[in-house]
């Protein structure tokens, strides 16, 4: 408990320090030493499905606020939407009901940002992935690329936006915790740097080996995500894809991109040479 609060405050302070430095130096945006991404650890064994995170998220971002007491939303498995950046789903498993919060995983090396031709999807130095409306041209390649199907597009708007969890990037810059973390009454959500969260998650598994599957979802998935999950049941039983592999997404296209300058430099002389070799003596310009 104390540790969690300490981690949370320390993490927020780190984030604040990082942005503060960025503002002060105005250049690189990283504080001295390697930048550490912040993230959130979700302990699904603690979640009771009260959906206060959903309420807090909606309030913090001016979205329609759900009413968990009456709307029966847990009856079915929901996806996030343009107006619900996080949703809690209920899964019936061998070990009873498990509630799982879903939102952007904030990958360490995200597919969406690697896909974006305008850098509208940005992996900030602090960790949250945010969207810049002044850059986005609405091609939706981020949605094609995202292994978690997270970016959501406003199809019914003439001025559509990409909407998703931004890990309360704005609140972090004010030194506050993400709204969902602050609202959680069960300490199911822990904010901190990914390194701290990994230590915390391993500690919980070590101390309570029978309460958890010995896997931290997000440690390696899709190259590692800043959101991490602990669970009592295998992750494929509670709505997670376990076939994503551990390659980071930029790796999938790196080889192709490396080949581009080679082709650009290699082809023209080759083609010109071919043209000279096959040119007939009398062949003029036509």
């Amino acid at each position: 408990m104390d540790r969690r609060e300490f981690l949370g405050l320390a993490g927020a302070a780190t984030a604040l320090a990082a942005t503060g430095t960025a503002a002060a130096s105005g250049s690189t945006g990283t504080s001295a030493g390697a930048p550490e991404f912040v993230g959130i650890l979700v302990d699904t064994t603690r979640c009771i499905g009260c959906r206060q995170c959903e309420v807090a998220c909606a309030e913090a971002h001016g979205l329609p606020v759900p009413d968990p007491r009456t709307d029966e939303a847990l009856a079915e498995h929901r996806d996030t939407t343009t107006t619900q950046w996080t949703v809690v789903n209920r899964f019936d498993t061998d070990r009873g009901e498990v509630f799982v919060k879903k939102q952007c995983m904030h990958c360490g090396q995200p597919a969406c940002a690697a896909a974006c031709p305008t850098n509208a999807m940005e992996k900030t130095h602090e960790g949250p992935i945010i969207w810049h409306g002044d850059r986005c041209m609405g091609c939706r390649y981020c949605m094609v690329a995202c292994p978690f199907d997270i970016p959501k597009f406003e199809y019914m708007s003439p001025n559509p936006r990409i909407q998703k969890c931004i890990m309360c990037h704005d609140r972090l810059q004010e030194g506050k915790l993400p709204a969902c973390v602050e609202a959680c009454p069960m300490d199911a959500l822990t904010f901190g740097t990914k390194r701290e969260l990994m230590e915390e998650a391993r500690t919980r598994i070590y101390n309570h080996p029978d309460d958890y599957v010995h896997h931290i979802y997000g440690e390696f998935e899709a190259g590692g995500t800043d959101w991490l999950y602990l669970a009592a049941v295998p992750f494929d039983q509670i709505g997670f894809r376990t076939d994503l592999g551990s390659d980071t997404y930029p790796d999938y296209t790196r080889e192709f991109l490396y080949a581009v300058p080679l082709v650009f430099l290699g082809f023209p002389p080759l083609l010109y040479g071919l043209s000279e070799l096959t040119r007939r003596r009398e062949g003029g310009e036509e």
Binding site: C116, M156, S157, L244, T253, L274
Partner: protein
């Protein structure tokens, strides 16, 4: 002094009158094509207005699981493959100096340029925030790491180089002899640039789906998608030349002198061989990938059956038809092969971008009627402009004939 000014004024006025004259419609207005295409285009324009006023969701069936639909899968992915003929033929004629194919260069380049202009241009209809389309170009924010950034730039540069490849024809049409000679001298350089760009963005369209590993069916997903897209663009382009050329030779018969009709047959037999060879290479690569991927078990599923329809019926069969048609010099077989190959390319591009995409996701996507309608509108617009140009500029005509009166 005075005289020369008057002369240039006169020349200007005559050019102006010439252009005005050329802008007038030619030929009968009530042809079957016009009767079908005019309403399609007019209604399509209304749909485009609705799309921009009320959002993509008002006319398309796109959804959160299927952010890309028919406009990307067909208009862009398939359209660009079909336009591949231009880089194949300019390479063959200007780089390899295979003069035999010279008579079809102009029509092919024109078709390629207009395909890019309209089909890749249709991309702007699909963009949610098209007013930011200049962002990747003017570079206030370059997404260097993005395949789509690369493809966008290559589209733009390739359209410019195709226009330059075609520009001597425009100069000839306008009787600008000096400009024509200058533009002609640039041709080889522009062609080399264009072939380089084409090989990169044809493969780049396949590379777009390298990110789709968790979403695309394993029978279609491979790290060699760029290679498959590049090789298949060769026979897609060649088949389109045969298909388009066959139609052009009937519709615009009066533009072509009889001698050329004869050479065209010879050209088609050569093209058939080229298509067959590239299809053998494609099928070989596809086979190696399939064996290497160890996906035998998928063949028994409905996805396997669908995969075999694409690869056997619409790639292997037309490949055999091309081969046989070339050997026996049977034009009919080659035409059938070309049509089947085009269907196979449509299937392949739609499979990768839409059909086998999200195979493991309960979400579905079927193009809406307006989406299909607008696709037809784009195709018809391209044909209108193609016809407009062919009837005025020396595209199919061998020599710069007399200006149409």
């Amino acid at each position: 002094m005075m005289a020369s000014t008057t002369q240039s004024l006169e020349r200007q006025r005559s050019l102006w009158e010439f252009l005005r004259e050329e802008l007038r419609p030619k030929g009968p207005l009530l042809t079957p094509f016009n009767i079908i295409s005019i309403p399609v285009i007019l209604v399509g324009l209304v749909l485009v207005v609705i799309r921009f006023a009320r959002g993509l969701g008002s006319v398309t069936n796109l959804n959160q699981a299927y952010p890309w639909g028919l406009w990307i899968g067909f208009d862009v992915m398939t359209g660009v493959a079909f336009a591949g003929g231009a880089y194949i033929i300019t390479f063959t004629v200007h780089v390899l100096h295979a003069e035999k194919y010279h008579p079809i260069v102009r029509a092919t380049v024109l078709n390629g340029f207009l395909s890019y202009l309209f089909y890749a241009g249709a991309l702007t209809l699909d963009l949610g925030r098209p007013w930011h389309i200049i962002n990747p170009i003017i570079g206030n924010k370059f997404g260097y790491n993005s395949i789509l950034f690369l493809v966008a730039w290559h589209f733009l540069l390739y359209m410019a180089s195709e226009f330059l490849e075609f520009s001597p024809v425009v100069a000839e049409w306008l009787n600008l002899e000096a400009a024509r000679r200058f533009l002609n001298r640039m041709t080889l350089g522009v062609v080399i640039f264009g072939v380089t760009l084409s090989s990169l963005h044809q493969s780049g369209l396949g590379a777009l789906f390298l990110f789709s590993k968790p979403k695309l069916h394993p029978l279609w997903y491979t790290e060699f998608l760029p290679v498959l897209f590049l090789v298949s663009s060769i026979f897609a382009g060649i088949s389109m030349i045969i298909f388009e050329g066959t139609i052009s030779h009937r519709v615009f018969a009066d533009q072509i002198d009889p001698e050329h009709h004869h050479t065209f047959e010879d050209i088609v037999f050569g093209l058939a061989k080229g298509a067959a060879v590239s299809m053998y290479v494609y099928l070989f690569v596809k086979f190696v990938i399939f064996v290497h991927g160890q996906h035998w078990d998928y063949l028994g599923t409905k996805w396997g059956a669908w995969f075999l329809v694409e690869v056997l019926i619409f790639t292997l069969v037309p490949c055999a038809l091309f081969t046989h048609g070339h050997r026996e010099r049977r034009m009919g077989l080659i035409r059938w092969a070309a049509v089947m190959t085009l269907v196979g390319i449509i299937l392949n591009r739609l499979n990768v971008s839409m059909i086998a995409f999200n195979w493991n996701n309960p979400a579905t996507y079927v193009p809406s009627i307006p989406e299909i309608w607008i696709t037809f509108m784009v195709v018809f617009c391209e044909i209108w402009v193609f016809r407009w140009v062919v009837l005025r500029m020396p595209v199919l005509r061998e020599k710069p004939g007399p200006r149409p009166a």
